[in-house]
Amino acid sequence: MENEKQILTVSELTKEIRKTLEETFEQVSVIGEISNFKSHISGHWYFSLKDADAVINCTMWKGFNQYVFFTPQDGMKIIVNGKLTVYPPRGSYQLDVRSMKPAGLGELQEAFEKLKKKLEAEGLFDEKFKKPIPTFPEKIGIVTAIDGAALRDLISVAKRRFPLVEIVIAPARVQGSGAATAIVNSIQLLNEYTGIDVIIVARGGGSIEDLWAFNEEIVARAIFKSKVPIISGVGHEVDFTIADYVADLRAPTPSVAMEIATPDVIEIKNFINDFISKSSTYIEEIIETRLQDVTALNKSYGFRLPMDILNRKMQQVDISIGRILQSKEKYSMVYDKKISLLSKSLEAYDVQRSLKRGFVLVNQNSKFVTRASDFNKEKNARLKFYDGEVTIH
């Protein structure tokens, strides 16, 4: 009956195996390549790790995988840490993963290239989808860490360049686990907000791990889906992320992103001041031109014509006046002659002559007495001779 005692139920055996495995492999680190990666709706991850000759099933619960800064991709070589356990319903052993990291930076680089190729093939980087960045934004949305240096830079640039703008910050973690989801949510949030003209997705410099959220597929798709144009300003000049490729415009740094998004107040002021001085000159030029036009017109044949006409008329008048004067002279001469003739004939009737011939003029009461009947014998009379007068009584 010893043998009978040895008989175990499946569950009992499984329990024993599980105990043995868990105690033996309580803390193991394993390197391998990811395959069949699935992120379940519950938030748990299911995948396999494999190498050339073997494969092992893995699980990573939500409580642990939320601390992973990258989204695992099939083919990525990773190092996991966890314990071996058994899943009784299936009678299989599996690795219960507690932490995970890429086997090397090369792995991230590879994942980056892979995603880049995939999205590029889908057309997410196509120039035709790039939305224009407005010149005069009223509201600029910002997706970045609320306590980051990037935000301080963005605000100071906005203040300096275009304080007319309103900054709307949708804070998001930009590093570590959950960063990608937070960035996606913030982009959506700003798309729902009224009146955002442009969104800046930014983060200061850091390692490839630090910037990894911007290389996540969900971030790329959220940027692509955004109806508001997006400028990316992630890391330094040399850092290129997937977000940069999908964004409508890539700025090398957060500060430059804000410079691109805003017009420069100094340039605007210069333009305005320029306008005032330049347009005064234009006006002066216009007046000068018109003045020249008027002067030229004055000198033109058409304008001279009336003067000519006037001059001609003047000449005619002069001529007429000349004629009038001439004829006046002529007439005067005629009259002069007539007058002298008349004078001569008058001379013939000159009283003096008669007096000389012995006639006398009789004057009574200051009147000449021409008839004897008019003569008053009682009164004095004055007799006028040729050579003098006498009074008779």
């Binding site: 005069f136 009223e138 007319l164 109806k227 347009s279 006006i283």
Partner: protein
């Protein structure tokens, strides 16, 4: 965001100023018109400069709580 909104007053003023500048530069405007435009331009210049001088950056922070977003004005 809906379709492209109407331009802001500042943007409108500035583009009008650019337009006036262009018209004046072309030098085939009537003198009266040029002077009217110049007057308008100077007025716009002054109002734009005033707006810029008085501008202060406005910052709004959006906060996400349980899927509901509240707005915090700074």
């Amino acid at each position: 965001m809906t379709k492209k909104k109407t331009k802001s007053n500042f943007e409108q003023d500035l583009s009008r100023l650019e337009e006036i500048s262009r018209i004046l530069e072309e030098d085939n405007v009537e003198l009266e018109e040029a002077i009217t435009l110049f007057d308008e331009g100077v007025k716009l210049s002054k109002s734009c400069l005033k707006t810029l001088k008085e501008a202060e950056l406005k910052i709004t922070e959006l906060k996400s709580e349980l899927g509901k977003y509240t707005q915090i004005e700074e």
